[in-house]
Symmetry: C2
Subunit: 338 residues, 2 copies
């Protein structure tokens, strides 16, 4: 039993809770025998969602929580007050070692706050970055930080680069991942104060494969495997992906509608291609984003997550544990501290 | 003669100089009798490019400059040393009142530096923002700052909002343009230190129509007419437009190539639609970006500008002068100073 990877799942978080969350958990348990899930949330609702699904009852357990943290709630207050919420209880299960990992599609703020305050940082880690995998023409790349840590310091960005490299190498399987710092020009002297201060520090970090500045224009083409920036920039990049792709497709559909018969026919024929292109460019394509550098694994999935994304996020925890990512992070961060 | 709008054009700047630049200038002069162009650059090359074109010789004049500033040159040094370059000479023509405006497709750095150092700022303007019009589903919107002024202060962002509002109202013709501050969440308490400091200042600026925070995801849909941010963020947004759209179309083409006969046929039929969609989403669609807040008008067009973009940028100068944009900016900035 002790070899199982145990994952606390916030069954109440996200737009499709608990139905899709519970289904995703059941799929994960059915697809991989190494995982056990603790479904945290309102017991009656979870039981109703489990109705009719078949799974190994030894590997799905319900943890009743009477409270729910809403997306709009101020996160610090919510985490402090709602001790019996699914997020907070799941966080304590990770902190106390009952679970290896936590997956939530709930309030990003509450997950970030709970991760730092309850689960806690690995010694030496200044700030835990939220690190989603972003689609590029060259395969997925890690963009960090996309969390709530705005106004970061250069030493924090260096830690992001190290943790991101470990993740891409051990979890995604990219040897010697290329690390770039997001900048507004290719030259070393370009950038804001933070980038200018961070650039030489990254250059002087032997354990990463630093390739220099990367421009936003080139990110979707996959010029780097690990893209380092502070969270304001990361957030803008992440959301521009969504916004530009969405608006472009809207405009195209509109032009097809207003076009001639050729455009309409072409539009109909191209529909499956367009759909698969959009899917391959969705920032949700690769499941949840880990919050790196915590004493345990916390994975945040998109608020609109469906079962498949929850399943993938749960299965991702297996690799994270088996590849001992946190041991590597501990070692890498400690080496700087000394 | 004195009623003509006089525009100094950097005939040597950009990837397509002097051919496309000269052609664009001729087109502008032929299309609007109110404009006179001074083509600054190497006389023999300009003469060769003018060969075979017909135009009113009273309204095209060549100003010989022996030097050229290359894109890769460090801008401050280049502007200081190359006194006889097309950019520097054109800047002096604006400064000394010989010309109302300047259009350049050359080195962005040199244009920004030259604008500040040679043409000079309007009294009270802290920093002149580079303000391109960005395509949205809702028509063009102004994104500022996209220049080199990284690490801006909140008072500067307030000035950007005011100058951007004047431009959108007077030049683009949008009444009471909606001003948003680029942020990572909709709530007032969200954001980095700069945004948090700027938000209440914008709220307390009666002459603008401040609508609060706007998220990057929503910008391409046209949620604001004036989008205020500091230049690092502006640059990332501008380049994500280009990068995401370009990569998306690449991927789509690839999927069409690898698809079945239906996808290939659909792809062929949809080609003109796709082309016009991409064109309507190009950040170059609306010609050059003004550098606002200078004693004169400096317009920077894309390095890859063709004749049409040069023509549009020159014609844009007419409206800028006739609508007395700089008088309004002077008045608006002075009102804060007092």
């Amino acid at each position: 039993m002790s070899e199982l990877v145990t994952v606390a799942v916030d069954a109440m978080g996200g737009d499709n809770a608990p139905g899709e969350i519970v289904r995703g958990a059941v799929d994960a348990v059915n697809d991989d025998k190494r995982v056990k899930v603790f479904l945290c949330g309102q017991e009656d609702k979870i039981r109703a969602a489990l109705q009719g699904l078949s799974y190994d009852p030894e590997r799905i357990e319900i943890v009743h929580c009477s409270e729910v943290i809403e997306t709009a709630e101020p996160p610090v207050m919510a985490v402090r007050r709602k001790k019996d919420s699914s997020i907070v209880k799941a966080m304590y299960m990770v902190k106390e070692g009952q679970c290896d990992a936590l997956v939530s599609a709930g309030s990003t703020g509450a997950v970030l706050v709970g991760g730092q305050v309850i689960v806690g940082r690995i010694k030496g880690v200044e700030r835990p970055p939220l690190a989603p995998l972003i689609p590029t023409l060259n395969g997925p790349a890690l963009l960090l930080d996309c969390g709530a840590n705005v106004d970061a310091r250069s030493s924090q960005l260096v830690q992001f680069a190290k943790m991101g490299s470990i993740y891409m190498e051990k979890v995604v399987g990219i040897k010697s991942p290329r690390v770039g710092i997001v900048n507004i020009g290719a030259e070393e002297e370009k950038g804001n104060a933070l980038v200018k201060e961070t650039f030489p520090l990254l250059k002087a970090t032997p354990e990463i494969n630093f390739i220099g500045s990367v421009e936003a224009r080139d990110l979707p083409y996959g010029v780097a495997d690990v893209m380092v920036c502070e969270a304001f920039t990361g957030n803008v990049i992440l959301k521009m992906y969504e916004g530009v792709a969405g608006a472009l497709v809207s405009r195209m559909k509109e032009e097809i509608m207003n076009g001639g018969i050729a455009a309409k026919l072409g539009g109909a024929l191209i529909k499956p291609t367009l759909k698969s292109t959009m899917k391959s460019f969705s920032t949700e394509a690769h499941g949840g984003a880990p919050l790196l550098g915590l004493n345990g694994l916390v994975v945040k999935t998109h608020g609109s997550s469906k079962a498949i994304s929850i399943r993938n996020s749960i299965l991702q925890c297996i690799q994270f544990k088996e590849e001992r990512i946190n041991d590597f992070i501990r070692e890498s961060i400690a080496s700087t501290e000394s």
